[in-house]
Amino acid sequence: MSKKVRLMQGNEACVEGAIAAGMMFYSGYPITPSTEIAEISAERLPRIGGKFIQMEDEIAGIAAAIGASLTGVKTMTATSGPGFSLKQENIGYAAIAEIPIVIVDVQRGGPSTGQPTSPAQGDMMQAKWGTHGDHPVIALCPSSVKETFDLTIKSFNLAEKYRMPVLLMMDEVVGHMREKIEIPDSSEIEIINRKKPTCSAEEYLPFKPEANLVPLMADFGTGYRYHVTGLVHDETGFPSNSTQVADDLIRRLMDKVEVNKADIISWEEENTEDADILIFAYGCVARAAKTAIKMLREKGIKVGLFRPITVWPFPEERLIELSKQVKVIIAPEMNLGQMVLEVERLCNKHTKIERLNKVNGEIIYPEEIIAKIQEVL
């Protein structure tokens, strides 16, 4: 076993990915099943000159991370269901104030305290609609330890590039699972850093967008004295009551993601070329789907997988294309129907959609997917 090939837990891979991406600050509040992310960050960060702080609650955890990001460092906070609810307030703040930050949610059974040590996928819609008001959302969903490493880096890159909060939607299985991972050399990892102003302090307009709709971001303490607020503000950063300013700002925030979808969206397909049955699955459930597909293919049943990696924005176009090809889409989820709402909205004109839902705190098994497929065939 070379030094780079290791058995690693998903939560650990998240921290390793964050550090590879340049994370130098973590603030959070312990909650199962995300706690290892805090523990490993606490152990690792001071060794590389970074900072870790355990705050008094989940709200403070994200607030401190946003504050730290304003000084120019890359920051992360991690949580699970109940804490994700509490973080919604300041996810909205980071969105309107355009502050890069990565928020990890290792999903467990809910609502409320629910099933603390069991996996679920019940926060997928909260990721999209959790904080109030229209706001841009980028949410990624890993289904393996290696992908957790990769997507944590991607989360930081997208947060820095588009100056916004990015959500990494893990689940308890992926977070606690250990598997083989080969850590790439740092020279093989693409790192994106926020763009900073080069103009004089007098000329700096902190919220004037560049061509890609993203404003340049100065670090607090570097001579560009400017104002940051959660109120609707104009290019100067100061609050405005103008209806035009409000309209322009909210539309631009949304457009940062909308216009750049092609750069942000990613998905995985397996066995879709000739598929007439498509499984739509993400996170740990996609692994059950892959096993089910192997078993069904051995019997000559043409099943394929569509796995959104970016769950928000949703990979609409490709899924619509595939829906025109297949007879049925099966959507197994560890909730009572969340992402399937998108599938139904986009694809019900073209094909039949069948839900498969499980909320007992147990992963969906390949056999359950196979049974569902046999039932609808």
Binding site: P46, A60, A64, A68, V73, F220, T222, T229
Partner: protein
């Protein structure tokens, strides 16, 4: 051309400020700027953070790195700023509801950590921005729009709370005693640790009107007549102190500071990452 202090430390283009006529907040904000001037701090290294409410508008008028956050959370944001970059002088401005109701948890824990942040609570005993609801510092039996028959909650003593929670510098002044605000804020900034200055502010529009305290001048006169300096109070009888409140420096007891303690850990681990 406004006064030199305003010219140098305020964003004069944003003035006049939005506070009501006679609101003490403008006086206290000026007193904070005067403290920064007297300490000759580099404005590029000063960060002023606020939450939500009337007080939270102050940073928008001050020409530093300024952050207007969510209700009650100013200290949590400020903790992140200070820990990430301890070179910054971090000043937090909060209101009474902001700091002791919705932000009460953040407040006591910032005190406990003794992180080097100077916090000024603009205490006007009411929620002003939302229209005069009672706050955790509204005196018992006083009225607010949500306490039409009198407030039956017991009020917090913000300074006692901060001191008990671990703040290492604590003081109180009023908008009438603006120079004392400046002195206490200066001392607070110089204290390497968490400092809390309660600045009593008059809200003529809501608290004053609801409780028949008169106009701005009457409220300032009340501050003048009922405030007793803590050093003078030591020589007064309980009868003489009846109905009065204390101002001045209540606690000045330095202890190891949070970001310095964290840096010690970093230094002790140097070269240990594999």
């Amino acid at each position: 051309m406004p006064s030199q202090l305003v010219e140098q430390y305020f964003r004069a283009d944003n003035l006049p400020q939005i506070w009501c006529p006679g609101c003490g907040h403008g006086i206290i904000t000026r007193a904070i700027a005067a403290a920064i001037e007297q300490l000759d701090l580099d404005p590029n290294k000063v960060c002023v953070v606020s939450g939500i409410g009337c007080s939270s508008r102050a940073p928008g008028y001050l020409d530093f790195n300024t952050l207007h956050t969510t209700h009650g959370r100013a200290l949590a944001f400020a903790t992140g700023i200070k820990l990430a970059n301890p070179d910054l002088k971090v000043i937090v401005i909060m209101g009474d509801g902001d700091s002791t109701a919705i932000g009460g948890n953040h407040f006591i824990h910032a005190c406990r950590r003794n992180i080097d942040i100077t916090t000024i609570i603009f205490n006007n005993n009411i929620y002003g921005m939302t229209g005069g609801q009672y706050s955790p510092t509204t005196p018992k039996f006083d009225k607010g729009t949500t306490a039409p028959y009198g407030n039956i909650d017991k009020a917090f003593d913000v300074c006692d709370l901060a001191g008990a929670a671990g703040a290492t510098y604590v003081g109180r002044a009023t908008s009438y005693h603006a120079n004392m605000v400046t002195t206490l804020v200066k001392n607070g900034i110089m204290n390497e640790g968490f400092s809390l200055i309660e600045a009593i502010s008059g809200c003529p529009t809501y608290y004053g009107r609801k409780n028949k305290k008169g106009g701005p001048v009457d409220m300032m006169k009340w501050q003048k007549d009922f405030a007793v300096n803590v050093t003078a109070a030591a020589r007064m009888t309980p009868e003489q102190l009846e109905g009065k409140f204390l101002i001045g420096e209540f606690k000045n007891k330095p202890e190891p500071e949070y970001t310095k303690e964290y840096q010690r850990i970093i230094d002790s681990l140097k070269g240990s990452d594999v």
